[in-house]
Amino acid sequence: MSAALPGLTDVTHLFTMLFGHETACKARKSPLSRQEGAIVASYLDNCGEIKRLISCDIAFANSAGAALSAIPAGAANDATKSGEVPENILANLLEVMNVAVNLFTESFGGRLELGSVSRLSDLSPETQAALASIQRVKLDVAIPRYDMGRVDLIAI
C-alpha cells in the first residue's frame, strides 16, 4: 500500500462506521479494469484539482448504497445481478462517497472535498485521465449480508 493512501485498517474502520456492521476489507492484487469500475468518485483539493479517486464495481455500489440506510440486501443483490444501480441506491452511494473523503484527510495531508460521483459512462475527460494512475489501494469489501464488492482508492 502507498503512504499517500489510507491503510487497510483505516478503510475497515470507516466502512464499519458507515454501515453499522463489522465490514471486512481484504487487499486484492489486480486493479479494477475500466470496464469493472462502475462508479467513480473524485476528490478535489482547494485549487479544484483532482487528487484522489474512488472507483468501485457495481456490487460495491449496490451493497454500500443499500447498507447505508438498511435497504434490504435482497434488493441490492438483485440490482447487482441485473447490472443496474437504482437511483435511490445511487443517492445513498453519493453520501457514502461524501463521508469517504475522511479516508484521505490524513494521508493527503490537507483537506479534500468530494467533486463528483459519476457512472463510468459519464466521466469527465479529466477524471478519465486520472483513472490511469497506478498508485492505488485495491480492496475486496464484504458487508454482512450484502454481495462482496471491489473498491480501488487511487492517488493522482
Binding site: L68, E95, N98, V99, N102, T105
Partner: protein
C-alpha cells in the same frame, strides 16, 4: 434527553443517530441541523440538552458555533464528532469549552465512552 446532531452530511447525521442507539442511548430524542447557522436557530427553538457537532461545515464551522453559543451565554453541552485529529484542533475545542472530541471514524463504544459521564 434531547440531542442535536449538527453535520452537513445527511449520512453522518444518520450514522450518529444509529450509533447513539447502538451505544444503548435508546431514550434519546435526536434532532438535526445541517450547519452551525441552522443549529443556532434549532438550539434557540428547541433547547437541546447536548449538541454533537461536526467541525468543518459550510455557513458556520462547529468551532464558530461553539464560540457563538458561549458568547451568547448559552451553556448547552457541546461535543465534536470530526475527522480533525490534530492535537491543536483538539486543544482549540477544549479551550473553547467543548466537552469532548470524538474522531471519525468512530464506534458506538466511543460514543458511549464520551456521553456516559454526561448522562448521570
Amino acid at each position: 434527553m434531547k440531542v442535536l446532531i449538527v453535520d452537513d452530511s445527511k449520512a453522518m447525521r444518520m450514522i450518529v443517530r444509529r450509533s447513539l442507539t447502538q451505544a444503548g442511548f435508546t431514550n434519546v430524542q435526536a434532532i438535526e441541523a445541517n450547519n452551525g447557522v441552522e443549529a443556532l436557530q434549532v438550539i434557540e427553538d428547541q433547547s437541546p440538552d447536548l449538541v454533537l457537532s461536526d467541525w468543518n461545515m459550510p455557513e458556520m464551522k462547529g468551532i464558530d458555533l461553539l464560540k457563538s453559543l458561549r458568547a451568547a451565554g448559552r451553556k448547552v453541552t457541546l461535543g465534536f464528532i470530526t475527522s480533525e485529529s490534530s492535537p491543536e484542533i483538539h486543544q482549540q475545542a477544549v479551550d473553547s469549552g467543548a466537552a469532548f472530541v470524538i474522531v471519525k471514524p468512530f464506534t458506538p463504544a466511543a460514543i458511549e465512552h464520551a456521553l456516559k459521564p454526561l448522562m448521570v
